[in-house]
Subunit: 147 residues, 2 copies
Amino acid sequence: MRLTQFTDLSLRVLMRLAVEKGDLPTTRDVAAAMAVSYAHTAKAVAKLQHLGLVETRRGRGGGLELTATGRRASIGALVRELEGAGDVVDCDGAVPCPLRAACRLRGALRQAQEAFFASLDPLTLADLVEAPTGPLLVALSLAPGAD
Amino acid sequence: MRLTQFTDLSLRVLMRLAVEKGDLPTTRDVAAAMAVSYAHTAKAVAKLQHLGLVETRRGRGGGLELTATGRRASIGALVRELEGAGDVVDCDGAVPCPLRAACRLRGALRQAQEAFFASLDPLTLADLVEAPTGPLLVALSLAPGAD
């Protein structure tokens, strides 16, 4: 069972921004701290801006910043949004499954997917960056080569 | 969020076998009824035999048959087995995630994955082939070209 790399990276970008106390990081800084490509990180940042979770502050000391909405957002709601509403199996692919119109497996898997999201619903970024994760994120951001 | 095609197909093979009342179907019959390739179906059948859920009866009227274990198996346990114990994101890929040793996101996603499986735990094949799914499976098996 897999989430997309895009969801994974988007969550890590948000976690990185949630620990920032000083100068705001750029997309390049965040990519370096997370050991991922600039291009992938830029795409995630664009999506997060579009969702109103991240904004860019311009000028000296400027960079990426969580919005109040981003800080309060439910991780379950975020993952629902980033993963989309599709089924966990491909019922309607190039050769559609002949069972798809009357499938109890499909219903059971949808309920299970909802249980997955519901488990993440009570969490916010603050929960994900509690120690030891938050201090590690700060250390990675300060490491040589991270900016 | 996606399950592997292998898990999806394996579950559908089991559902097809769960409605059989007459001559046992061959792997080729099951593949035709499900509109999937013989090769993929044969791999799923081999895995299900290895797990003790399906057996082959030889001779006239022979074919694939659910074992008593297969009939009683929990769908949650089956999906756990077929999907494996890996994370829902790739923490240990070619460039491992620098957070992996101290990551609250990883813990939260593992709990969510467990909630997914737990939602399927109370179900057996009998639940998945209740109407309207079971009668549709029977109809597909009898359709011209399905055997």
